[in-house]
């Protein structure tokens, strides 16, 4: 940034003072964003031979949607206040591609917790791994998505706050840095919101839709290749403890409502539907 260099301008020196008080040195934030790699939204689901989980071999993977919004919020806070954005993700080797995507979008460095799969952990077990990796970093802020698109438990951020002994707020759409900490906009049900003030360091779970997501630029993708990704083995972080809650099996949902599927060409199906809505459902 260019600063006024006129030597005898008192306004200029005042401006310099202000700059110093609010300088990036004091204002800057170290933000950790916990992200998860999940099956792509349109992935075809096949149940594995054991009936315990889905067949992962033929799945395309993507960055969890609300985690993408958490990353975006972190990048915008860094652009405003200065600082560092560190992404953190747990999972097997494949998670590396999602980490590179986050680095390409602008995160500064990454920590990957290497574990064969998250299937052997419950929500508390995963949060313990993440907490152990976050702690030595001493961040000002930890962000994560509201919930994962695969398991949808929506607990990781809240448990993480509990384990780190930090205050938290969930379902956050907007984050404002203040003198004493943060003011955040929290989504409630049925179109209501509230704002919450909380001190930093803090943990926030981010709802999707608060910001417009950026795309990685070609330059960003290139630079991501040189950024630091530190890998830590899960066993180094937290002693393996037996899960409290176990996913025993999965199944495809069975239809609860008897849905009449209308076959034929689009024109035939449309005509059949209008007829049904008139004579059977009587809603037209």
């Amino acid at each position: 940034m260019l600063v006024s260099v006129e030597p005898f301008d008192t306004k200029g020196s005042e401006k310099n003072n202000t700059t110093r008080i609010g300088s990036p040195e004091i204002d800057r934030m170290k933000i950790i964003v916990a992200i998860k790699q999940v099956p792509e939204r349109d992935a075809q689901i096949r149940i594995d031979a054991a009936g315990k989980w889905i067949e992962e071999s033929d799945i395309q993977w993507a960055l969890n949607e609300s985690d993408a919004y958490a990353l975006e919020e972190a990048l915008q806070l860094k652009e405003k206040h200065g600082g560092e954005v560190v992404v953190l993700s747990a999972g097997p080797e494949r998670v590396g591609s999602t980490i590179r995507e986050a680095l390409a979008k602008g995160a500064d460095r990454a920590i990957q917790i290497d574990c064969a799969g998250l299937g052997n952990f419950d929500a508390l077990g995963v949060a313990r791994l993440l907490a152990a990796a976050v702690k030595p970093e001493n961040p000002d802020l930890v962000l994560t998505g509201l919930q994962s698109d695969d398991l949808g438990q929506g607990q990781t951020g809240v448990i993480l706050a509990e384990l780190l002994g930090l205050p938290h707020a969930s379902l956050i759409l907007h984050v404002e840095k203040t003198e004493i900490g943060l003011t955040v906009k929290r989504e409630l049900e049925e179109g209501w919101f509230q704002s919450v003030e909380l001190p930093t360091p803090a943990v926030l779970t981010i709802q999707s839709g608060g910001n417009k997501l950026r795309y990685a630029t070609l330059m960003g993708i290139k630079r991501a290749k040189t950024k630091e990704v530190r890998t830590i083995a899960a066993a180094e972080l937290a002693p393996g403890s037996a899960p409290v809650v176990v996913l025993e099996g999965v199944s495809l949902p069975t239809k609860q409502k008897s849905t009449q599927m209308l076959p034929g060409t689009p024109k035939e199906a449309a005509a059949a539907l209008v007829e049904k809505l008139k004579s059977e459902a009587r809603v037209l």
């Binding site: 929506g154 706050a161 509230q194 704002s195 599927m261």
Partner: protein
């Protein structure tokens, strides 16, 4: 050990339907396990709410009362319930799966070394030894069911999805109401919540609409929206949307249907290119007649639909608009 405790949520001085559904889920657990069901209400002035709860078939009703619980905070509620459950040592704790519960129940469970089984849609015990309950949750945005079991030791924390249990099936009775006073210091509450407020002016009232054409991700681009608008116009229907459409700014937030948007119950709900994630379904499952158009024949929206067309919406919707126009002439 003190059986099953249902945490009833006070909402604007009353009790939301989902809290009654949590009571029904507690009674279902009682049938499976033979344990007694009780209810607990955290708050600052819950006499009236407790009186309403006490006329149901429950063992005990406890008001956890403290001035610092007047406004919800995760710190206050976690602390109060932690103290209460450490004293009571329940086998099961059942919550309604509300935004409030999502904000503190995972931390409460973790503090007691437990894990919340959240957003449960069914409780059963089929094929298990000794009637151990198995909790069904929806995975992969409703495209997969997962069966969860709590291992032994400590309370099992469960939250139940809106609409999964029948609130009208709760039996009446009369329970004694007592008060539990937790020890909470103001300094232990680290967050300061404001009063709740509405978002942008609500200009569309989908709640009273007779017909709604609702559009989801399948529309691919804002430029394709006129296609759906034409169908809505032909039907005389309001236009609604799933969350991603509003997140992208393609339609205003007041057209969003689902847990974070409006709850609707029109005569006809026509879902176009909506896969049917739980968050959307809870906002529209009260509709009288549901039609789904989606290219993926396994999309969960078809399970909530009376009529379905598995096909390309870009072909089906224009054909349907024409058919509606022809029928209306």
């Amino acid at each position: 050990m003190s059986g099953i405790w249902v945490v009833v949520e006070e909402r604007e001085g009353g009790i939301g339907r989902i809290s009654w559904e949590a009571v029904a889920a507690g009674q279902k657990l009682a049938t499976l396990t033979g344990l007694a069901v009780n209810a607990v209400i955290p708050g600052a002035q819950s006499e009236a709410v407790a009186a309403e709860v006490a006329v149901r078939a429950l063992g005990k009703v406890v008001r956890i009362e403290h001035p610092l619980l007047a406004a919800y905070t995760a710190d206050g509620f976690t602390l109060a319930l932690q103290q209460f459950f450490e004293a009571e040592k329940p086998e099961y704790v059942v919550f309604p799966h509300t935004y409030q519960v999502r904000d503190y129940a995972p931390a409460l469970a973790a503090r007691l070394g437990q894990v919340l089984i959240g957003d449960v849609v069914a409780i059963g015990s089929e094929g298990t030894a000794g009637n151990t309950p198995v909790f069904t949750r929806q995975l992969m945005q409703g495209r997969l069911n997962g069966f969860y079991r709590h291992t032994e030791g400590g309370p099992c924390f469960v939250s139940v999805q809106a609409g999964a249990f029948r609130a009208d099936a709760i039996e009446t009775g009369s329970a004694e109401v007592t008060v539990f006073s937790p020890a909470i210091e103001p300094a232990q509450i680290r967050t300061r919540p404001s009063e709740r407020f509405r978002g942008s002016a609500q200009t569309v009232d989908l709640g009273s609409a007779q017909m709604i054409v609702s559009v989801g991700r399948g529309i691919k681009d804002a430029a394709n929206l006129p296609l759906v608008q034409e169908l809505a116009t032909a039907l005389g229907a309001e236009l609604g949307a799933s969350r991603p459409i509003c997140d992208n700014g393609w339609l205003t937030m007041d057209r969003q249907i689902g847990s974070s948007g409006q709850t609707v119950s029109p005569k006809l709900y026509l879902a176009v290119g909506i896969s049917g994630a739980i968050q959307h379904l809870v906002g529209m499952k009260g509709s009288q007649c549901v039609v789904a158009i989606n290219k993926d024949q396994n999309a969960p929206i078809f399970e909530a639909a009376d009529y379905g067309i598995a096909g390309d919406l870009f072909e089906v919707v224009p054909a349907l608009t024409e058919a509606v126009k022809a029928a209306r002439q």
